[in-house]
């Protein structure tokens, strides 16, 4: 393996033990080669059912119209956009881990990067479906939201934040997909070389694009990976910034807030890490990746959750402060109403799960407890879903004119679509861990002790 620009030599060991490259390959490849375990099938049955609930809900939605949901005037966005923002947010962890942490040479990311990237893609897919299907006429929205020259001479509105969303999310999806695939190429080659069946051989041959582990390949690969990382880095910040513009650019009190971009980005990373944490802990356990995904990694993730959670909490409080400090009575009303109005329970669920419970991670004991990490991460996911619910629904339900105030009551189809999106996400995750290497084989080899050349004689020397 050629030397990379990174020097990991001063850092703690990323993985436990001192496995050989072959052991690593074997370990990572095991789920792909083995006939799936029974619990994998049980998992798939559950997520598949959830997915089908989503499919049925979607069919009914398309048949009847968005009226099957609980949305109304004034709350014209409900679970649809809540779910959209939620899933886009989930996606952010992947890019942050694979791009930003890569640039910052955080080698502890290696074990989880592949996984997180895949989750990004799946999450963005989940998000995109809500963008399309929340519209009244999705069959037209799918085409008309894109600027394409046409005989009608109609064009899209580049001043609309929703249009920015279209570009932001599409760019995000494309870049993430390319980045992910790029990282997979050496692994595909490894799988190709270790393939035992023809189907695998052919499939992986095609997917590995003729990778031969040559020095040149590695050189190009490293450069390309670095460039892609650089390319993806601004997206981590831009996508959720733009999603936050959907709200910040509007004039509705509770939405019209300048703090939204950083607050949304922090929130996105927060929720994304929590989701990665959840899926990671299960996978780690199920596939016995304990040596590759160490407790140290999990602890670091928890630290990030703690930091971003506190940023988000700060934003919540700052929003309140500014609502009061601005002297804008309508805005103050919206915030007081959030905390003490009809949707107080949603607000306090959000506050509890996002601001209060993550503070438990100050304790190292909790931070390094698998169970605590898992449970608190679930709390974060719940909290972040509620954050979007609070922002969207409570701001709309009591806006300027008291005459038009109303309540949003979700219907079974709202829940159906939500469950369906989780079904889609976890089904894809399950398929991913079965059919693709869940941990980057090539990368992990670069961080095993002694893999890197060093001047200090620590491990292998050149």
């Amino acid at each position: 393996m050629s030397s990379t620009v990174l020097d990991y030599s001063k850092e703690l060991s990323v993985i436990e033990g001192l496995p050989s490259a072959a052991t690593l390959d074997e370990m990572i490849e095991k789920p792909i080669n083995d006939f799936p375990q029974r619990r994998w099938f049980i998992g798939l049955a559950i997520t598949g059912t959830m997915l089908m609930i989503g499919v049925v809900s979607l069919t009914w939605l398309l048949w009847k119209g968005v009226g099957v949901w609980g949305i109304n005037q004034p709350v014209a966005w409900g679970f649809d956009v809540v779910n959209f923002v939620f899933w886009v947010g989930i996606g952010h962890a992947g890019t942050l881990i694979s791009a930003i942490l890569f640039l910052f040479r955080q080698k502890w990311r290696t074990g989880i990067a592949r996984f997180a990237e895949a989750m990004t893609l799946f999450a963005v897919l989940c998000a995109v479906q809500f963008v399309i299907f929340h519209t009244g006429r999705p069959w037209l929205a799918m085409a008309w939201l894109f600027p394409y020259p046409n005989q009608h001479g109609v064009w899209v509105n580049f001043t609309s934040p929703l249009e920015w969303d279209v570009f932001a999310v599409n760019t995000y999806f494309i870049v993430s997909a390319v980045f992910w695939y790029l990282g997979l190429i050496p692994d595909f080659a490894t799988l190709r070389d270790r393939a035992t069946t023809t189907i695998k051989k052919v499939t992986f041959s095609i997917l590995s694009l003729g990778w031969r582990f040559s020095n040149r390949h590695w050189q190009h690969y490293e450069r390309a990976y670095l460039i892609m990382a650089g390319f993806a880095t601004p997206l981590v910040l831009s996508v959720h910034t733009i999603v936050s513009f959907d709200f910040a650019v509007s004039i509705i009190p509770g939405w019209h807030t300048t703090i939204f971009p950083p607050y949304f980005v922090a929130g996105a990373i927060f929720s994304g890490f929590a989701m990665v944490q959840n899926v990671l802990i299960i996978t780690r356990k199920a596939f016995k990746f304990e040596t590759l995904i160490t407790m140290d990694t999990i602890e670091k993730m928890n630290k990030i959750i703690l930091v971003t959670g506190t940023i988000v909490g700060y934003a919540y409080i700052m929003e309140f402060f500014i609502a009061w400090y601005s002297g804008n009575a309508t805005e103050l009303f919206v915030f007081v109403n959030r905390a003490f109005g009809p949707y107080w329970w949603a607000y306090w669920t959000m506050m509890t799960c996002n601001l209060f419970t993550p503070q438990l991670f100050w304790s190292k004991k909790i931070r390094t407890s698998l169970l605590a990490s898992f449970i608190l991460a679930i709390f974060v996911n719940i909290g972040m879903w509620f954050e979007r619910f609070v922002i969207i629904v409570t701001s709309l339900h009591r806006d300027f004119l008291p005459s038009s105030w109303g309540m949003f009551v979700p219907t079974m189809w709202d829940f159906g679509m939500l469950i369906g999106s989780f079904g889609l996400f976890f089904t894809l995750v399950l398929l991913f861990v079965k059919f693709l290497p869940a941990i980057a084989m090539a990368e992990i080899k670069a961080v095993i002790p002694g893999a890197q050349p060093t001047h200090h004689g620590n491990g292998a020397s050149h």
């Binding site: 968005v66 005037q73 014209a76 929703l162 509007s250 509705i252 309508t330 004119l401 009551v409």
Partner: protein
């Protein structure tokens, strides 16, 4: 080998070498088309005598029949242009015909707009001297009844318990036989009708009774003015010639400085609302602020008049007599009752009462005290006396009086009829477009008695409770398919002409009686038309002493829709104080009092199947699609009853479970219920909407048929969800209290304040922006709504619904907050829950210059026009709903479903409802946003006209639908760049304000702040 000659010697062609060599197997193969044994024994001739041609003919014929049979009946309506253009129709141009709309004994001159022969919109006839171009909500929506898919289409007969289709011939014959038999047997023929307003119809009835001498006519209205009439007679002794019952004087509301309305909703549902509203708002003009009238409303319910009152006194209906007597005592002391005591006992504000007395005494002859129809006779007598004492008879209209052709039948007449029915002495009952089974007080036992009548004939547009109990159910023409003349005032006859030929096999109700009078064969489509014209030519026209011939007169009269002539009004006597001696004092009841009252939209239930009317929210409660038991806040707390729980109300053994609405401002220990709901036999829209509170009515009501004391109320554990278009907030929630005022959505002041400083409302609005403002140099549309005039009646909403093809969404969707009305009336309460002050505000798209909806639409489906309109391109809209979210006024409406197909199993898609649509307005599909367009179709019409005439379009002459319909003329619309226009004046009005001006969206609707005419500098409560 030579080719054989036998084998087609002419042919040089051969298909195979075997053929060339004349192999016999080739001939054999040729002879049999199919392989051996496949078709052996196949003898064509033996199989069928049918030739191939015949077979094909049959196949094609059956295919053609099948195709014809499967044809959608809609296909018949292929769009074919006129080959010969009818003289009066230009495609794309509307024709207007003057006609008459009659509602609850009130006539309104109307103009019916027709397009290509189908009526699409009703508005008032500006030439009509009474309603002057305005009509009530029911008139606007009545067009839906014309096209109601569930109208009766053919005469029906009940044969052995089953209602089946019949023919007019058979029906006529058997009814005439039944009528003759009844006369022969000396049995009565009872004709039961609503108020007869037509002199010609009266003549028809006279002819009928002449032919069938045992016939007797009964007339009723669920909401009638019998108490008022009899009270007038008792207080004055009037029994003038010319009218059957002594009428009562009409009131010149426009001359009243002080109005004291006692449970009288003269702005809401009593009397000629269009006329009364117009007269009332004449004195609510800010530009003549010194002369603004003052209105006191003493009522127990929260009605339109009370909502618009400057002072509202909470007086329970059963205590009104005490109140009026106490007032009389103030001006003509009799030592019997003291106003002070009354005020103290009933929790009235002493200062308010003092002010009332002061105002009444200072404005003698310029004030009016008016009691509601539902109040007992005694209250009316006392009111008449009070008005006389105050010299208010000066405000009685001496030029005009009301006219009634058939006396409203009284209690004893009904009892006599029902006794006769039970005794088998009634041969035929004819329900002449009436529904007594539903309307008559249940303890008459009318429905039971009806079973003992041989022939029951119901003439109706739709199935109703009475038709369900009939042997003959006969479809009658809708008013817009009918001829008629209506006279409810002296000197004015309003003409009614059909604007469309009957849609179904129905007949005009008068023509039916005529045919039965003359002979069944006498019926022609023009029977009644000719009868009407003959009567006019012979009886009316000569008296007119017109200088033109009859035909000219008749056509011009039809054109105008109204004929006025000089006729002496009934002379009214004076009410004397002696009349008070007949008044029995009402013992103050401490138990619950039940008050039944008219509703604002569905009337006495006749409009139950009209979805537009059902969906109109009640002005105070904003609840639609139901009636309910309204109770006061204090009472609800006392009893621990919440909104949407059910209570059992019982009076005199009659009890009914009703959902509760907690209504601020209602009297204590008082239950108000609207009548006209709970229809059991109506169309699919109207059946089962609300609760039938007619059940409470009793023939032996002690106070009045609408007012009952000794009511018991029981809590139940049942729940019932009422659908409301506006959330209900607790008035004592400090967080929400007066929020509409804190946000300057409602800006109000008092007349005193305004007179002292006309600019008292002016506020600094920086309105600074970094974006350069777009200049509108040409026409720039704007609207102004004068909240001093707006009474919150909701006619604008209905007019808009009809004009802009707005669908009915139904109760569940309304409850979810998905109503589609483009203009709504926002109602705000401030003050305490006992004495709330109400503010109404029509809210519609504000067509903001910096419209926040526009920049957020990703597909540019909503844009701004150069004349300042915020536009929607429905075809481009993909339905992100972002615009709606970003609209600070929440006036955008989204088609969450295809509501036409979603509501009531798609009844709105049934024929012939599509004929109702305004062809100038797109019918929106599912998934599309919509909103007020400022009636762009009317603007374009104005523009086209200007282009056609080669003139510069300055925006004058364009009226929008809500503006045209507003009975108070509270809505002004026009080109704000035109300095001579009225809108310019309003746009720069001293107390004009824009809602949410501070968010800088630059709305183009100006609201003129309401001035309350109260004494104190600051607003009351």
């Amino acid at each position: 080998m030579e080719p054989s000659k036998t084998n087609n010697s002419e042919s040089k062609y051969w298909r195979s070498l075997r053929a060339y060599h004349n192999d016999p197997s080739v001939d054999d193969a040729k002879a049999r088309e199919f392989a051996k044994e496949v078709t052996d024994g196949f003898d064509v001739d033996a199989m069928s005598p049918m030739s191939r041609k015949q077979f094909l003919a049959l196949v094609s014929a059956s295919a053609a029949f099948a195709a014809a049979g499967c044809t959608n009946y809609r296909d018949k309506g292929a769009i074919v242009p006129y080959i010969k253009k009818p003289e009066e129709i230009t495609l794309g141009k509307a024709n207007y015909y003057a006609s008459t709309f009659v509602d609850n004994g009130q006539e309104y001159g109307i103009l019916i707009k027709t397009r290509e022969g189908r009526p699409i919109k009703i508005d008032g006839n500006p030439d009509h001297p009474v309603n002057k171009g305005k009509i009530p909500a029911r008139g606007q929506a009545s067009i839906l009844n014309l096209y109601d898919p569930e109208r009766l289409k053919d005469p029906m007969v009940v044969e052995s318990g089953i209602l089946s289709k019949s023919s007019w011939k058979d029906v006529d014959a058997s009814i005439i036989a039944a009528l003759s038999a009844a006369v022969k047997e000396g049995k009565e023929i009872a004709i039961i009708t609503h108020t007869i307003t037509s002199p010609t119809a009266k003549k028809v009835l006279n002819d009928f009774t002449a032919k069938y001498p045992t016939a007797k006519i009964y007339s009723y209205e669920l909401f009638n003015d019998l108490n008022r009439r009899s009270a007038w007679m008792k207080s004055t002794g009037d029994r003038s010639a010319g009218t059957v019952t002594p009428a009562f004087p009409l009131i010149k509301w426009n001359e009243a400085k002080i109005i004291l309305a006692l449970e009288s909703d003269f702005l809401g549902y009593e009397g000629n609302i269009a006329e009364q509203t117009r007269m009332f708002v004449e004195n609510r003009n800010v530009d003549n602020a010194k002369n603004i009238s003052r209105i006191y409303s003493a009522d127990g319910t929260m009605n339109s008049t009370g909502m618009n009152a400057d002072y509202r006194l909470r007086v329970r209906p059963d205590r009104q007599l005490e109140f009026v007597l106490a007032l009389i005592n103030e001006f003509a002391p009799n030592g019997k009752a003291s106003l002070k005591d009354f005020a103290a006992k009933n929790g009235l504000d002493a200062a308010d009462v003092k002010q009332l007395v002061k105002d009444l005494s200072e404005n003698k002859g310029k004030s009016i005290v008016h009691a509601g129809n539902a109040l007992p006779e005694s209250v009316h007598i006392a009111v008449n006396v009070l008005n006389e004492i105050l010299g208010n008879s000066a405000l009685y209209n001496k030029e005009q009086s009301s006219v009634e052709y058939v006396e409203t039948s009284k209690n004893d007449e009904w009892e006599a009829l029902i006794n006769k029915m039970n005794g088998g002495k009634v041969g035929v009952v004819i329900h002449f477009d009436s529904n007594p089974v539903y309307h008559l007080a249940s303890d008459y036992g009318y429905a039971e008695a009806l079973k003992k009548v041989g022939s029951v004939v119901t003439l109706a547009e739709m199935q109703n409770e009475s038709s369900a109990a009939s042997n003959y159910v006969l479809p009658i023409n809708h008013a817009f398919e009918s001829w008629g003349d209506h006279k409810t005032r002296t000197g004015i006859i309003s003409l009614q002409q059909p604007v469309i030929s009957p849609l179904y096999n129905s007949r005009q109700k008068e023509a039916l009686l005529l045919a039965w009078t003359v002979s069944a064969a006498a019926f022609t489509e023009t029977l009644y038309h000719e009868y009407l014209m003959t009567r006019w030519e012979k009886e009316v026209f000569p008296a007119m002493k017109s200088s033109v011939d009859f035909k000219t007169f008749w056509y011009s009269a039809l054109h105008d829709g109204v004929v006025t002539f000089s006729e002496t009004a009934q002379a009214f006597g004076k009410a004397t104080s002696d009349a008070l001696n007949t008044v029995a004092p009402v013992s103050a009841a401490n138990d619950f009092v039940l008050y039944l009252h008219d509703n604002y939209f569905v009337g006495d239930g006749r409009y139950a199947n009209n979805g537009w009317l059902q969906e109109m929210p009640h002005p105070a409660s904003k609840i639609a699609w139901d009636n309910y038991a309204a109770i006061g806040v204090a009472t609800s707390r006392e009893m621990g009853i919440d909104e949407n729980s059910m209570i059992e109300v019982s009076v005199g053994g009659r009890s009914l479970k009703l959902p509760v609405h907690v209504q601020p401002g209602l009297s204590d220990k008082f239950i108000a219920v609207m009548l006209g709901y709970g229809r059991t036999v109506s169309g699919t829209v109207g059946t089962g909407v609300g609760f039938n509170a007619n059940l409470f009515m009793s023939k032996s009501a002690s106070l009045s048929p609408w007012l009952y004391s000794g009511v018991t109320v029981t809590k139940t554990s049942d729940k019932y969800l009422l659908a409301s278009s506006q959330e209900h907030h607790q008035l004592d929630d400090t967080f929400l209290k007066d929020i509409h005022k804190k946000r300057d959505i409602i800006q109000e002041g008092t007349v005193v304040q305004f007179l002292a400083d006309p600019k008292f409302l002016e506020k600094e609005h920086s309105g600074s922006t970094i974006i350069p403002k777009i200049k509108y140099d040409g026409v720039k549309w704007a609207m102004a709504i004068d909240l001093n005039k707006c009474t919150g009646c909701g006619v604008c909403t209905l007019s808009c619904n009809v004009e802009n093809n707005i669908p009915v969404v139904g109760k569940d969707q309304l409850g979810k907050g998905r109503e589609m009305a483009w203009i709504r009336i926002d109602r705000y309460f401030s003050g305490t829950s006992e004495a709330p002050s109400v503010s109404n505000q029509p809210m519609l798209c504000q067509h903001c210059d910096s419209a926040p909806c526009e920049n957020v639409c990703p597909v540019i489906a909503t844009t701004h026009s150069p004349d300042g309109l915020n536009q929607m391109a429905y075809n481009r809209c993909v339905g992100t709903k972002y615009c709606s979210n970003n609209c600070p006024y929440k006036v955008r409406r989204f088609n969450f479903y295809d509501f036409r197909s979603e509501f009531n199993d798609g009844i709105q898609y049934q024929q012939p409802l599509n004929m109702l649509h305004n062809p100038e307005v797109t019918v929106r599909s599912r998934g599309v946003m919509e909103k007020c367009t400022f009636c762009i179709q009317r603007i374009m019409e104005g523009r086209e006209l200007a282009i056609e005439n080669g003139t510069v379009f300055d925006g004058s002459g364009v009226t929008v639908a809500c503006q045209e319909a507003c009975p108070a003329d509270a809505i002004v619309f026009g080109n704000m760049n035109d300095k001579n226009s009225e809108i310019y004046k309003y746009r720069h009005h001293e107390i004009g304000y824009r809602v949410l001006e501070e968010i800088n969206v630059a709305p183009n609707v100006t609201y003129v702040a309401k001035l309350r005419n109260v004494e104190s500098q600051t607003e009351k409560a």
